[in-house]
Symmetry: C2
Subunit: 449 residues, 2 copies
């Protein structure tokens, strides 16, 4: 029997474990899990805190029991302290402080990411929260239950910030969202980010953009957030959602090479520079399918893919990670915003000639009840015609997410914008048009090229 050891019980680690068991039963698989919550959907925390999900236990993708049934050994509340590549062991400490060494034939590092602490004074006060782990979720839930805050400030207008603004508003809390950039959801063009900002405002969220937070102070049991442009807002709690940084210290200390933002450098086989050591998920650099090089772009869906590849290869497989496309989607109240592909800046930097066209069209034949406007932005290379990016904002019933996935599948195959018109997409009046919105966007782009 050979030993596969995995550090980290979230998306990447568990995906690696499951895939390893699937493809090679000759390996036993042990997963070192820092907390008591293996395989939890951290992406689901906002919905639990917002009240749409009643029981936090439902956030588990699989229970510990289900994982053990797959032949996976879980070491809960164990923290990896050091990796020793020369004798292929890992020092772990259990909940009671006892230390021991576990040996491995192959190791997968899936230590994830931690909230980035922005340069803001006063982040360590009571009432200021980050949201990355189940424990942080519990802490926020307890505070909400004990204090029943009437108001909240969310710092950061990325997708976690947006989801938490939605969640807190859903609980009846008066929310102010503060974003450093000129519009929320900066992965979208500002014209589309503006629509998301309007959706927040229509649901009672105060949106402040183009403002940098400098300091959080407390005054009369309240927190005061101050920043540029005279920002001075008071609230009962503050949630900081300004992105994450890779948690790669353990790997780096063992001689594993790190790169962008300190993330572990891996190849498409998810191998690190250290023999027999693989890494996956939010702690690694991610290969970009269109750029042909690594970026840092941590996402749950990517962690699952990378974990699956790492797990397969660690037990003798030959799989290759095809790379991210930068696909993202978020639901904010009744709106869904999604994107896939290269931003204009990324595209230009990589030598493409991005040309972007905004398009408004209906999600389905307007004569059939319930039609909604889709706001699209499609980008292709002006010289070669290759599709580079698509962004869509529209109603949550307008199949925005899967329309972006049609674009993603086209990007994966390096299709030309014009070729989208050749694809036999499904049509029925209640759901689409003879030319789907995806194709109307493509035609608008071809005309405007």
């Amino acid at each position: 029997m050979s030993h596969l050891l995995i550090i980290g019980g979230s998306d990447a680690g568990i995906s690696a474990a499951l895939r390893a068991r699937e493809v090679n039963p000759a390996f036993d698989v042990t997963v070192v899990v820092a907390d008591r919550y293996p395989n939890y959907s951290i992406c689901g925390l906002p919905f639990w805190l917002g009240g749409q999900v009643a029981d936090w236990r439902d956030l588990a993708h699989r229970t510990a029991g289900e994982l053990e049934q797959q032949g996976i050994t879980l070491l809960l509340e164990h923290t990896a302290q050091a990796i020793h590549p020369t004798d292929r062991t890992v020092t772990v400490v259990d909940g009671s402080g006892r230390s021991r060494r576990l040996s491995y034939d192959r190791l997968v590092i899936g230590t994830g990411a931690a909230p980035a602490h922005p340069p803001i004074k006063g982040l360590d006060q009571p009432g200021v929260f980050f949201l990355r782990t189940m424990s942080e979720g519990f802490a926020l839930r307890d505070y909400l239950a004990a204090r029943s805050p009437a108001s909240a400030i969310v710092i950061g207008g990325g997708y976690i910030g947006l989801e938490m603004a939605d969640a807190l508003a859903h609980r009846g809390i008066q929310v102010t969202l503060v974003e450093y950039l000129p519009s929320v959801l900066a992965t979208l063009d500002p014209s589309l980010g503006l629509l998301v900002g309007q959706e927040l405002q229509q649901h009672g969220v105060t949106v402040t953009t183009g403002v940098g937070v400098q300091e959080i102070t407390s005054r009369d049991q309240h927190l005061v957030v101050a920043g540029s442009g005279g920002l001075n807002v008071e609230a009962d709690i503050v949630l900081v959602a300004t992105g994450v940084r890779p948690e790669a210290r353990l790997a780096a200390a063992a001689g594993v090479q790190t790169g962008q933002k300190g993330a572990v450098v891996v190849n498409q086989a998810m191998e690190t520079n250290v023999p027999n050591v693989y890494a996956a998920g939010d702690c690694v650099e991610t290969y970009h399918h269109l750029l042909g090089r690594n970026v840092y772009l941590p996402l749950g869906s990517t962690a699952h893919k990378q974990g699956r590849i790492a797990g397969e290869n660690a037990v003798g497989g030959q799989a290759s990670f095809a790379g991210t496309l930068g696909t993202q989607v978020v639901q904010v109240f009744d709106l869904v915003a999604a994107r896939t592909g290269l931003s204009d800046a990324e595209a230009s930097q990589a030598g493409f000639h991005p040309h972007s066209v905004p398009v408004e069209t209906w999600d389905h034949k307007v004569y059939y009840p319930g039609a909604h406007t889709l706001h699209l932005r499609i980008t292709g290379d002006r010289v070669t015609g290759q599709l580079l990016e698509a962004q869509i904002v529209g109603h949550r019933t307008a199949e925005v997410s899967k329309r972006v996935d049609v674009f993603a599948t086209a990007l994966f195959n390096r299709m030309a914008v014009e070729a989208l018109n050749d694809v036999d997409l499904s049509y029925t009046p209640p759901l689409s048009s003879p030319w789907d919105a995806v194709q109307m966007a493509a035609q608008a782009w071809v005309k405007a090229r």
Copy 2:
């Protein structure tokens, strides 16, 4: 100025006209339209008859005025009588019976299809309806308004039959659907067709399958439908929806070659065998992207694509029709059923080795409210791994249609089933899973291969 003449004012003809105007203003464009309803969405008739669409005028994709603004001349209530390729003219007759000849430099034939008249006695009685043109729609609407029928029999369980069963039930009419094959929606596997049949029954429609209708007679102001297996059902009206046949007599009489089911034979440039004569839409054979040969598969979305190609090439372009994938979708009450690709029989006949796997999964993370089961069936080639077909049945809010479009885009690019797992599809818990349902199906197939 050169003359482009188009016979037919439905999807193919109007698409050809619009595209021709777009790419080459040196051609004037005239469209001969048999009725007064150019560019109407015939696919929308069931929704108007069902009452979801209030005004039939809303079924127009574009008004006559909008078409004329694009520089298109419409000859309404004109019927083409004969094509004379030798002197490049077409004889047309207007509403008052006056005949004249129109000359053309290029001709596009878009004469569409007519309802197939199955071998059933008594189809020509009052109260028996077909549904293919606006006029037929008006006739049925008038009859419904005048007689307020309490009961209806729909013969044929294809998508028009299903939509009309839904529409008539929506009006409070007691509907019996009679299908010759063992399950409705025979383009789906019987296991999935069964789900569609159950949905009909749950909404009060009586579904009778495996029964061939032989005769319609009238008795006491009612119609009696009799057939195999002792079928003897009485109702106030009968709708016959047993498919269509290409309307290609005009073309054939002019020496244009016809093939399967009598449809016009065209190449991928949408050229017929007669110089300067193109054809598109429901009157032509359709090139199949995966089979590499023509089939007869009339659909509105295909007619739009073919019309666009024909229009472009007729005025000097070099476009090529990439082919159908057999994609279809229909909404039946709260269910959406969709498919794309080759049936097992088509695949086997073409030399593939189809292997199909049924998969049930949630449309999004089940912890988030409103999750629905998706019933998928995925088919790949057991030898090469190539994706061949996907079928999905699920709730109308479960993004079934665009998930099938992800499969369609994959089929278009001849992807392997396994490669679907490599595509960076969008993920957020309210809308999907870290591995989307598309990918869970792919993984199930890979495991079962």
